[in-house]
Amino acid sequence: MAGKHHPPEVRRATLADAFAPLKLQWAVAEATRCLMCDDAPCQKGCVAGVDIKKFVRALRTRNVRLALSVIREANFLVATCGRICPQAELCEKRCSATGLAKPIAIGELQRFVGETAIRERMRPTFPPPRSEAQVAIVGGGPAGLAAAYYLRGAGIVADLYERRARVGGVPMAGIPRFRLPRDLLGAEIGFVAEGGARVIHEAVTDLGALADRYRALFLACGLGAPREAGVPGERLAGVWIADTLLELVNLGEDTRGGAPPRFSGRTVVCGGGNTAFDAATVALRLGSDEVVVAYRRSEVEMPAWPLHRGFAVEEGVQLRLLLLPREIQGEEGRVVGVGFQRAELGEPDASGRRHPRPVDGAFESIACRQVVLALGNHPSAGWEALSLEAGASGPRVDPETMETSRPGVFAGGDLVNGGATVVQAVADGRRAARAIAQRILDE
């Protein structure tokens, strides 16, 4: 999320790309700042295990091709993750150059490589297929696509089931297009279909039948349905579930869901995760005069990444803390405001964060024309049908192979971690692909 963005007043007026283009000159100069540490700590911060030192070194001599193949080996979503990974929490957090001045802009260097590759059509090459139709993947998000990509790299052509009209999972349907333009993501995930993987647009309902039909199954269906607020007024016109709003803005036009709505006046977003801030910046671009994010705990407990928050705050999104939504107020079927009860911080809860305790009698309302609820998602359902052992969230898996308690059934991504990052989903998909390929090709 760190990156060379267009100035806030420019970008907040449009759904077009918020990132400024990068030049080779910049990339080489930035790469030259790299200290080339021993046992580079940045690499330990990358959950996909990209050989960062090697790709940065290649950039120093303008060898974009080598940089690209080094990154793709571990993470095929090169430009995508360059843009949307929380590098400040991952690779860049450990950069030794931080002690001198500031960390190397690893994410932006990766974005440069990925965007150059797309512009110059530098496609991955796959070996001739060795095995077909023995592996099914359920879910065409980053985890499922990564499994398909890396299986293809091992010569295995998989069947990929996706319930939506477009593959790409949350990055396609949820992450706003100004952070991740559709054509850019489309180009990177397009390599999977170009490599021959069969994409079947169908919602899988009978996992048992699939498990019987294929030699290996990779479950990558992501999270379940969004949580409701459970307060009066949720059905009023002008009240949106964040996921629905984001998907409409991203995919409405190509799936005939309709054009994005027009907003006006003030919008209140309830939540404190990355989705809340994406919804807030989208609400600005849809025409809101003012956007307020209302969160029930304090800033310290907020799950949204600081840089992601900063991106929204720079654009003028306001933060209101320690507010518990109690009712959505309406007139003639339309929302006119949100009633909150004030809270104070209590003891830490199960998540380790301090729990918001309602303050008796302290109520306030914020008038608004739109409300967006971004309160997280339920865990995914459906996998129970395979009677798999449960983990902390979703089925329990072996962290090395991503295999569940049922041999031949693998799982990864948000489904098993309860919601993390795209790069984690890619890492899971790649790990599963490796284990599946080994199994199939060994036999």
């Binding site: 030049k23 000159q25 080489v28 100069a29 030259t32 700042r33 200290l35 080339m36 021993d38 090697k54 070194r57 290649a58 120093r60 001599t61 060898n63 091709r65 080598l66 150059a97 001198l100 001045a101």
Partner: protein, 403 residues
């Protein structure tokens, strides 16, 4: 499919890159580790006979770096060293060469040798033992700027005296059948005649070049040359990026002798390597870049050079070898009518004004700055010297254009 394979002195190498005789080849284990990383060959740290005591001083390596800002990393562009030949002697090395030969039969393993100028028996013994141990070739170190094995004046003292160098080359030539390489110093007045004389004396190939004699710096408090050994210093060997232009010149000068060349001096990137090939080198030796970043740079060197072959539409390095040589001509043969003038890309220009300073105080007063700092070239005044382009901090912002 283009390949980096090269034929050198009767061996086929997977790529042209060898570790130079220097700290990266200090021990047999280190060489083995480098081979595992993909280096096509190595030259042992220079081997002395058992009877020669070698005792290094500390410290013995210093460097020059771009200081940058206080918070910026030091970036080394040259080393200076006063290190002697290997502290391990012929017994260790001959045994090690035999072991490496057995474990890595496909790698090019050269034994770097040094003995006193007059000691025919010592040179012959070293060369015979290296050949017997299985060395792919021997490399005679006629080029260490600080002698290499004090108190004897050897190394560059030999390479700077054509008669002595020729005599030793003949001795070794007569003693062994394996290929014989002479490693030269550029601190001589005429490499052309020297290399031709040594080719006639039996040298099969040349390594251009060893480090160049310098005083790297002086400590302003203690008045000691750097690196300082208890308050005193000595003329040391300049290596790394700063050495490359000298090594390129030497390579071009030795090429007419008609023997294969192992280019050496400042090779840091594949681009450097390609330049040496264009000036006639067959193999490429690297030391300082490995001192800075380790054996792993071999991937970058190979991958980059391979892409370059593809870009050039060449199948092998042989297709490019020496391509730049015929473009190195006397000044009188340059086309003085081909006029160029400077131009500025205002899109990338940062309005720093460095070009204007340079042209004002060291050029022809041809760059004007508008009130908003935008520079412009006065084409009538621009003399085309090219200085502004060199001082511009932005890549490709200023270029010379035909008029």
């Amino acid at each position: 499919m283009p390949t980096l394979q090269v034929d050198f002195l009767g061996s086929t190498l997977r790529n042209p890159f060898l570790l130079a005789s220097a700290p990266p080849t200090n021990t047999v284990e280190m060489i083995a580790r480098a081979f595992d990383r993909g280096w096509a060959g190595a030259v042992t740290k220079t081997i002395p006979l058992e009877k020669v005591p070698v005792r290094n001083v500390t410290p013995r390596i210093h460097s020059i770096a771009f200081a940058g800002f206080a918070e910026e990393a030091r970036r080394v562009y040259a080393f200076g060293n006063i290190e002697l030949v290997s502290e391990k002697h012929a017994d260790y090395w001959m045994d090690g060469i035999a072991r490496l030969r057995r474990d890595y039969p496909d790698r090019f393993l050269m034994a770097s040798l040094m003995a006193e100028a007059a000691a025919e028996g010592d040179w012959v013994e070293l060369a015979r033992r290296a050949e017997a141990a299985g060395a792919s070739a021997v490399e005679l170190n006629f080029s260490c700027p600080h002698g290499g094995m004090p108190p004897h004046a050897v190394g560059a003292a030999i390479g700077q005296d054509t008669a002595i160098a020729r005599r030793i080359t003949r001795w070794v030539r007569a003693a062994v059948r394996c290929p014989l390489v002479v490693k030269l110093t550029a601190a001589v007045s005429d490499l052309r005649t020297l290399s031709q004389a040594l080719a006639l004396a039996g040298a099969d190939a040349f390594c251009t070049i060893n480090s160049f004699p310098v005083i790297l710096g002086v400590d302003l408090k203690t008045h000691s040359p750097l690196p300082s050994v208890a308050g005193r210093g000595n003329v040391g060997g300049y290596t790394g990026r700063a050495l490359k232009p000298i090594a390129l010149r030497a390579t071009a000068e030795v090429a007419p002798a008609g023997r294969p060349i192992s280019g050496c001096g400042g090779i840091t990137t594949w681009e450097d390597a390609a330049e040496f090939v264009l000036l006639g080198a067959t193999t490429l030796q690297v030391c300082s870049a490995v001192m800075l970043e380790g054996y792993d740079i071999i991937t970058d060197l190979c991958d980059g050079l391979l892409s370059y072959l593809e870009d050039q539409g060449a199948e092998r390095l042989d297709d490019l070898r020496g391509r730049a040589l015929h473009n190195v001509v006397p000044h009188a043969s340059l086309d003085a009518t081909a006029r160029r003038k400077s131009s500025i890309d205002l899109e990338t220009c940062t309005r720093c004004g460095k070009c204007a300073i340079a042209c004002r105080d060291a050029g022809y007063q041809a760059i004007n700055e508008a009130a908003d700092r935008t520079p412009s070239i006065d084409e009538d005044k621009c003399d085309g010297c090219g200085l502004c382009i060199q001082v511009c901090p932005v890549w490709d912002c200023m270029v010379m254009r035909a008029v």
